[in-house]
C-alpha cells in the first residue's frame, strides 16, 4: 500500500489581471488522475472560464451538464465544441474572486481511450453546476489552458493542479 504523497500539488499559478488565460504545462504522466482547483472569475460578469487540453483548439470537446440557480434546475449540452466550460455553464459567473471550481481529469495519461472530466463549480451568488466533459483524443494530457470567456482573468484568480497516484 502506497502511503506517501498520493495527492500531490503539481503547480499553482495566480492571474495578474493582464491576461485572458493561464497555462499549466509539462504535466508529468506519473499520476492516475488530475484535479484542477480554481477560485476566481472571468473579466466580464455572466461569463465562464473554459479549459482547452494540449493546446487543442479543434472541435473535439463536448459536455453534458446540470445546474440550478436557486429557483430552477436545468440541463444543457455542447457538441463538437472547441472548449469545455468549467465555471458555471448555463448561469455564468461573477467577475470577482468568489467563484470556485473543482475538475477531475480521469485517467489522463492513458493513450487508449478518450478523456473525460468531471466538474463541480459554484459561481458566486448564481448557483451550482455539475458537468461531464469529453475530449475526443487518445493523447495523454500534458497541458491545460484555462481562459476567460470575456475579458482578462480577474487578478488574484488562483489555479492549482494536483495529481493523484494509484497504488
Amino acid at each position: 500500500m502506497a502511503k506517501d504523497n498520493t495527492y500531490q500539488a503539481i503547480a499553482t499559478t495566480t492571474a495578474t489581471g493582464s491576461t485572458t488565460s493561464v497555462t499549466l504545462s509539462s504535466i508529468p504522466g506519473t499520476y492516475t488522475d488530475l484535479v484542477l482547483i480554481l477560485q476566481g472569475g472571468p473579466g466580464s460578469s455572466g461569463n465562464s472560464l473554459y479549459v482547452q487540453i494540449n493546446s487543442d483548439t479543434g472541435s473535439n470537446y463536448s459536455t453534458t451538464d446540470i445546474w440550478g440557480d436557486g429557483t430552477n434546475a436545468e440541463s444543457g449540452r455542447t457538441t463538437s465544441a472547441t472548449f469545455i466550460r468549467i465555471l458555471g455553464r448555463g448561469i455564468g459567473a461573477s467577475n470577482n474572486l468568489s467563484n470556485s471550481s473543482v475538475t477531475s481529469f480521469m485517467n489522463y495519461s492513458n493513450t487508449t481511450t478518450h478523456k473525460t472530466l468531471l466538474n463541480r463549480s459554484n459561481p458566486a451568488s448564481a448557483g451550482a453546476t455539475a458537468t461531464v466533459g469529453l475530449w475526443r483524443s487518445t493523447s495523454a494530457i500534458t497541458s491545460l489552458t484555462v481562459t476567460s470567456e470575456s475579458g482578462n482573468l480577474i487578478s488574484g484568480s488562483t489555479f492549482t493542479l494536483y495529481g493523484i497516484k494509484a497504488a
Partner: protein, 180 residues
C-alpha cells in the same frame, strides 16, 4: 494542510498531510470483466474515495455492494440527473448501492464516489457519487446519494454493472482519507 496559497508555478507539495490521502488499491482491467472487488479494506481511515473510469460494454447500472451483502432491500438511492435537455430526480430500490447508469459503449464514463465514515459501527453508511458519461451529443451527468442499512464497518466493495461487463482498460482506484 491545504496549500492553496502556493503562488509559484511548479512548486510541489501535498494537498493533505503525508499519509492523509492514501492509495489502498487500484485495478486496471486487462479484459472485459463483470465484477471488481476490493477486499480486506483496513479500518484505519475516516472516509473512502473510489474513482472509476472506463467503458461499459452495454449501457446499464453501476452498483456497489458492501461486505458481499446482496440483500437489495438493504440499499436505497436518490439521484438528480441531467441528460442535456431535461433534468430529473428519482429514487432507486431493489439493487445494491447505485452510482450511475452508463450512457455509451464507446466513450468512457467517470465516477467519483465518497463513502463516508465507513468504519463507524454506530450508524448506517452513506455514499455519494458524482458521475457522468458524455458522447458528443448524448450522455448524462448525475449525483447519487445511496444508503446501506447496516452498521457494520465496510471491509469490502463489490462493483458490478448489471447484465454486462466493463471493457478492458477500465480502471478502479480506491483511496483512504484519514482524520487529523
Amino acid at each position: 494542510m491545504p496549500i492553496l496559497g502556493i503562488i509559484a508555478s511548479g512548486i510541489s507539495g501535498n494537498l493533505f498531510t503525508q499519509g492523509a490521502f492514501d492509495s489502498i488499491a487500484t485495478t486496471t482491467l486487462g479484459s472485459s470483466t463483470a465484477t471488481i472487488t476490493f477486499s480486506s479494506i483496513p479500518s484505519t481511515y475516516t472516509h473512502l474515495q473510489l474513482r472509476m473510469y472506463g467503458v461499459s460494454n452495454a449501457t446499464n447500472r453501476i452498483c456497489i455492494a458492501y461486505n458481499s451483502d446482496t440483500t437489495t432491500s438493504n440499499y436505497n438511492s436518490h439521484y438528480i440527473e441531467g441528460n442535456g435537455s431535461t433534468d430529473y430526480a428519482g429514487n432507486v430500490t431493489g439493487v445494491a448501492g447505485n452510482t450511475y447508469f452508463t450512457q455509451s459503449t464507446t466513450q468512457p464514463f467517470s465516477s467519483i464516489v465518497d463513502i463516508l465514515d465507513y468504519a463507524n459501527t454506530n450508524k448506517y453508511k452513506v455514499q455519494r457519487a458524482l458521475s457522468g458519461n458524455d458522447a458528443n451529443g448524448s450522455g448524462t451527468i448525475s449525483m447519487y446519494s445511496s444508503l446501506w442499512l447496516n452498521t457494520n464497518a465496510i471491509t469490502s466493495l463489490t462493483i458490478t454493472i448489471t447484465s454486462t461487463t466493463f471493457a478492458a482498460n477500465s480502471s478502479f482506484a480506491l483511496y483512504g482519507i484519514k482524520a487529523a
